[in-house]
């Protein structure tokens, strides 16, 4: 932690000494036009309505680590995931994966990059083609990227299925023959088929029962260790984050309000929103626990509050909070966008 001086960071959050950065996201923004149709707008004299789903988000992910983006609905976490894998172009800012920007890469470079990035989706029922056999689903990336040919493909599919805890003979079956947890394993096998370095996981266990979620999360950690995978993990569930992540970014209405290593975030949150989230999450030993909820909800992202978006709900609010957005700064191991972060830190991790 060489940069201990409380310097203001505008766009570059990269910690110099953190050698092997695989993903670098800088000043990433995405706006959507959610206006009514042109004629309706003219007739009703409405203005254009612009939704800023992601607003100047910067973070970096080290090779072999898990970076989790956590946030409630409307936080922009899935939009960021789509931009990182190149499914959606940013309105501003950039994503660099090992130095290549998927939005501006040439076709050949993009193909090479696609092999190295894969995605695991939330719904294991919607993300597998019901008319394809498992052999075709898992084999497709192998063929597309020319990683094997002929009989080798089938052999490789069998290996992948066994690697995710299924059996090689499952290759001849269709997705409907599997349970939700097994389908998610097929999704993981497909993601592994192209021998990727980065896997973007968008709520991969949210649709699963807890006992099955535990199996899938354990598997994902084993695979990460064995294959040196890097995960960008998108979720709303803090307990899953605590189990999976090395570093965590907390999003609120499209802005990254805090980014910190796991222990620091859970034990010494520096942003009032993080602190509130930690307090609100139910705990297995929380018998008769009283929550210090703020009574608020995530506001409409089309017309977010001025200044710091969180200020109307914030217990640490000061005058300037509704006027300007606090710049991101370093505080110990954390990066935080809050004027009053020191006070939050002193207040400790919630009411307990």
């Amino acid at each position: 932690m060489s940069g201990a001086e409380s310097s203001t960071i505008d766009r570059v959050p990269v910690r110099d000494e953190a050698g092997d950065v695989l993903v670098e996201v800088q000043g990433l923004s995405r706006r959507f036009d959610v206006s009514s149709a042109w004629l309706n707008r003219v007739v009703r004299r409405e203005d254009k309505r612009i939704l800023t789903a992601v607003d100047e988000v910067s973070f970096s992910v080290n090779r072999g680590e898990t970076y989790a983006l956590v946030g409630e609905s409307g936080s922009g976490k899935s939009t960021i995931a789509k931009m990182v894998v190149g499914l959606l172009a940013p309105s501003a800012g950039s994503v660099r994966i090992d130095g290549t920007d998927p939005a501006n890469a040439r076709p050949a470079a993009m193909t090479a990059l696609r092999r190295r990035i894969q995605m695991i989706f939330q719904d294991p029922y919607a993300s597998l083609n019901p008319r394809w056999r498992v052999a075709d689903i898992v084999g497709e990336p192998i063929r597309t990227f020319g990683l094997a040919s002929g009989n080798e493909v089938g052999k490789r599919v069998g290996e992948l299925l066994e690697q995710v805890g299924l059996s090689a003979s499952d290759a001849t079956k269709y997705p409907h023959e599997f349970s939700g947890g097994q389908r998610q394993r097929i999704g993981i096998a497909r993601a592994l088929a192209s021998e990727p370095e980065l896997i973007v996981c968008d709520e991969p266990t949210s649709a699963l029962d807890v006992s099955v979620q535990a199996q899938v999360l354990n598997l994902m950690r084993d695979l990460q260790r064995d294959l040196n995978l890097t995960y960008l993990f998108i979720t709303h569930d803090l307990s899953v984050v605590r189990f999976m992540a090395d570093t965590i970014g907390v999003l609120y209405l499209g802005r990254l309000v805090e980014s910190a290593p796991r222990e620091a975030l859970f034990e010494r949150p520096t942003h009032p929103y993080t602190r509130m989230l930690l307090d609100a999450a139910p705990r297995l030993d929380g018998f008769e626990r009283v929550h210090a909820t703020d009574g608020g909800e995530v506001p409409d992202p089309i017309s977010p509050p001025s200044g710091c978006h969180y200020h109307p709900r914030c217990a640490f609010r000061v005058d300037k909070c509704d006027q300007r957005y606090p710049p991101r700064r370093v505080l110990g191991p954390s990066e935080v966008a809050c004027f009053e972060a020191e006070r939050v830190l002193d207040a400790g991790a919630g009411s307990g």
């Binding site: 349970s179 006992s211 899953v240 189990f243 999450a281 297995l284 030993d285 929380g286 909820t293």
Partner: protein, 338 residues
């Protein structure tokens, strides 16, 4: 077959508000009869929150639906009884059931937008419910509607009485649903995953509200959820369901900290947690496999193929209910067997 007498919740002197005894729900199909609920028994006292927890397919929602008579045909109660404050309410006609629902049992479902009529104002819906179940005038019903919105913490309630459901946020909508469930002064509320569709910060608010209102008014609550953390923080007692049977039931703290059933222990171990006092390490406890489908529930104890402590008797015979102090468990580990 299995004798199924559950210990009554605490003091035997007070008759429970709700008593469910040996409830069996069946779905006749061409390939045979399925039993999503197979001999479930529990009680709820006035002012008490009973959590019903389990994974998908455990039968928790269908148990709630059976109690309020909302089973869709051909699904039906095959045997057992449901008694509300001394009166049997299973087997009532649809007309009689209508008088029970709303007036004596309120309901809160997962998705607030499907529980509200999108074409009617919040105030009208609340007042209509009050008129249907209470002997009040129109003016009084409207007054009650307003008071109920204030009670559930809707800001500027008087101005929002004429607003429509779409003008409320998700959390505020669920507050309205709770107001709707409570406006007929019910004795029992059945809340089926009431916070599953909500953000975590709103979830805490809604559960706190539900708990406060029901305790204050002495309303018994059956809270159906899949979330062990919600169970820990919200309920007084908990019933853990597996494959349509109660695996374990008892005071929440006891069941969660000193589980008698291997499935309860497995559920607790496989749930990642944010509690600062619990170290989750780098591996979650794995319960192998998944909840069986209704068409192939294993013989004997339905959990035996996934159970780390399974013995040979477990696959041969279904365990009985063993009473352990103020809780009860269905597991051969706690039962002498021949």
């Amino acid at each position: 077959m299995a004798s199924n007498v559950m210990p009554s919740s605490a003091a035997d002197d007070a008759a429970p508000l709700l008593q469910v005894r040996d409830l069996v729900v069946e779905i006749p199909t061409r390939r045979g009869t399925l039993r999503p609920v197979d001999g479930v028994s529990f009680t709820i006292r006035a002012g008490e929150i009973l959590g019903v927890v389990g994974e998908s397919g455990a039968g928790k929602s269908i148990t709630g639906a059976a109690i309020i008579g909302l089973l869709e045909r051909p699904t039906r109660i095959a045997s057992g009884s449901v008694t509300l404050a001394g009166t049997r309410i299973d087997g009532l006609s649809e007309r009689e059931l209508r008088r029970v629902r709303g007036a004596r049992i309120g309901t809160v479902f997962q998705d607030p937008s499907t529980s509200l009529n999108p074409l009617k104002s919040i105030g009208d819906q609340l007042a209509e419910t009050a008129l249907a179940h209470l002997s009040v005038s129109r003016a009084e019903a409207r007054q009650r509607a307003l008071q109920s919105l204030i009670d559930v913490g809707i800001p500027a309630a008087a101005e929002r009485l004429d607003a429509f459901p779409h003008q409320f946020s998700g959390g505020m909508r669920q507050r309205v649903v709770i107001a709707l469930a409570l406006i007929g002064d019910p004795e029992l509320v059945i809340a089926d995953e009431p916070t599953t569709a909500l953000d975590v910060s709103v979830q805490a608010q809604i559960l706190t509200l539900l708990r406060r209102l029901c305790t204050e008014r002495g309303v018994g609550v059956m809270l159906v959820t899949h979330d062990m953390g919600v169970i820990a923080e919200t309920t007084d007692r908990v019933a853990v369901l597996y494959a349509g049977r109660v695996a374990e039931i008892g005071p929440t703290r006891r069941v969660l900290t000193d589980a008698a059933h291997p499935y309860t222990r497995g559920l607790m171990g496989s749930t990642p947690d944010t509690s600062p006092d619990r170290d989750i390490g780098d591996r979650l406890v794995q319960v192998p496999g998944a909840m069986p489908g209704l068409a192939n529930i294993p013989t004997g104890c339905a959990f035996h193929p996934r159970c780390p402590s399974a013995m040979s008797i477990c696959e041969q015979r279904e365990p009985h209910t063993t009473v352990l102090g103020d809780s009860a468990v269905r597991c051969w580990l706690h039962e002498d067997y021949p």
